[in-house]
Amino acid sequence: MSYFDLKTDLSAEDIALKDQVHKFARDVMRPVAKQFDGMKADEVVAPDSPLWPFLKKVYELGYHKALMPEYYGGLGLNPLQISLVFEELGWGSFGMSVGMTVLCFPFYCACLANQEHLIESYVKPFCECTDASIRGCWAITEPDHGSDYVATAEDYFRSPKMRGNTQIRLDGNEWVIDGQKSQWVSGGTIATHALLHAQIDPSLGFGGNGVFVIPLDSPGVTKGPALRKIGQRDLNQGEIFFDGVRVPKDSIIVEPDYYVPMMDIILAAANLCMANWAIGLARASFEEAFNYCKERVQGGRPLIEHHSIKQRLFTMFSRVETCRVVGRAAANLNFNISPPFVEYSLWAKTQNTQMAYENAHDAIQILGGYGLTEEYLTEKLFRDARATLIEDGNNEMLAAHGGHILAETYPRPPIDF
């Protein structure tokens, strides 16, 4: 279903882009997502899985490089276009949107690092790739450290007690990696490259961390099994283990002395993605409920003709519109300034995922018993939405982090340039 856009001056290019991605979300993503949702996690990544033709299609259309600059062969979308595209992808499937976008994470951050060898050996080949053979992931959280990674402003962040599960040390011209990342790494079991956070100097706690772009075909890298979970089953996740893995010295893109502010920059970008996919998720739930209410008859007339149902649908509609305003505003700000005002990304992620979750919840309630069955999309949307409240940082921890930033910066002065 299309929607009225409050932004009435979308360009012809914007509208064409939105329509093209919507078609892909409707005709390609949704059917495959439904299939994956019913499969075992290891079947989803098996050699004969529909995942591979799906990914190939993603690469052929260039959606894997939606965030990448045009100069390197990326789509070069502006902030509004990113929001338009991500809403449609989120509408198609939240989990698959994550899976499609995390593919670019190491390469996007390598652009930020602006080092020629990374551009040549990683960024350009990724942008040129059309067969889905180069796939990134964001390997940050660990079995013992989930929220700890986003708690950069907490007093314990720099405590030596914060010993990471992934240690890295310099040995001559190489870094040596030992340890593991959590089973939550999106795309973890199928990734060929990682944006890896690892601890260089444990005496500084997580303040001694660094960020690296590494290939995952090096000796000593192994993967855990694909993770089965309540929702976003169409998103592959799994552990990555490192046993004396050696990577070149120049694989580092963020050193400890600016790890903390850079962590915020990376988090701000990731949270913006979450916020904009959540618009699509909120809208998908609203549409399911709306369409059902036109067909389902109770009390001798369609549900939509009942006063209280109209009210409930309006509440759901309001959340969609609010999500869109929030997601676009935050993208417009933080994809347009460097460094970003992180609290606005946190705001957008926490609010939009909460509203998307409430819409998914309300959609089931409106469909009644049918809403709980696999006959309708609502139960999947609900399970997917539940995961978003934890994904990319528990919303409570993100809110606490936002509060820390406010304590330091509120009110921000106007941008004076």
């Binding site: 045009e70 100069y71 893109i253 460097s338």
Partner: protein
């Protein structure tokens, strides 16, 4: 003490450097093709410069322009940048450089400036600017 002695020195160096980059290197066609324009707001010494495919302009004329990307930093950071001695992500993270404009454009601007970084040492020699910063 600031590396650039005064405003006229900055104007002379960067007026010439940008002019050369646009005229004589692959930067010229690329800035035109990408329709890129950059406003530099530099302090210490205080100067505003606008650059697009037509070359650099300064002061009030520059301030009147609307640029795709605005970069704000101090003069010493400018000098170090052209000497390739600034870790740009670090400088952004630590707010030594602040930028406004689509992040994607900023990311692609950095490699475009390489030809300028190659010829900048000549200016350092000519104007006796320190290179071991």
């Amino acid at each position: 003490m600031a590396i650039f002695k005064d405003v006229p020195m900055v104007k002379e160096i960067f007026g010439d450097l940008w002019g050369k980059m646009i005229k004589d290197t692959e930067f010229g066609p690329k800035i035109k093709e990408g329709n890129i324009s950059v406003l530099f707001i530099i302090n210490d010494p205080n100067i505003v410069m606008y650059v697009d495919a037509n070359g650099p302009i300064f002061d009030a004329e520059a301030e009147a322009k609307t640029a795709l990307v605005t970069l704000k930093m101090d003069g010493d950071t400018v000098h170090k940048f052209w000497l390739r001695k600034v870790n740009v992500p670090k400088a952004l993270a630590l707010r030594q450089i602040r930028a406004k404009g689509p992040v994607g454009t900023i990311l692609q601007l950095l490699p475009l400036l390489k030809p300028g970084q190659e010829i900048y040492p000549e200016y350092c020699k000519k104007y006796n600017l320190p290179m071991d910063v």
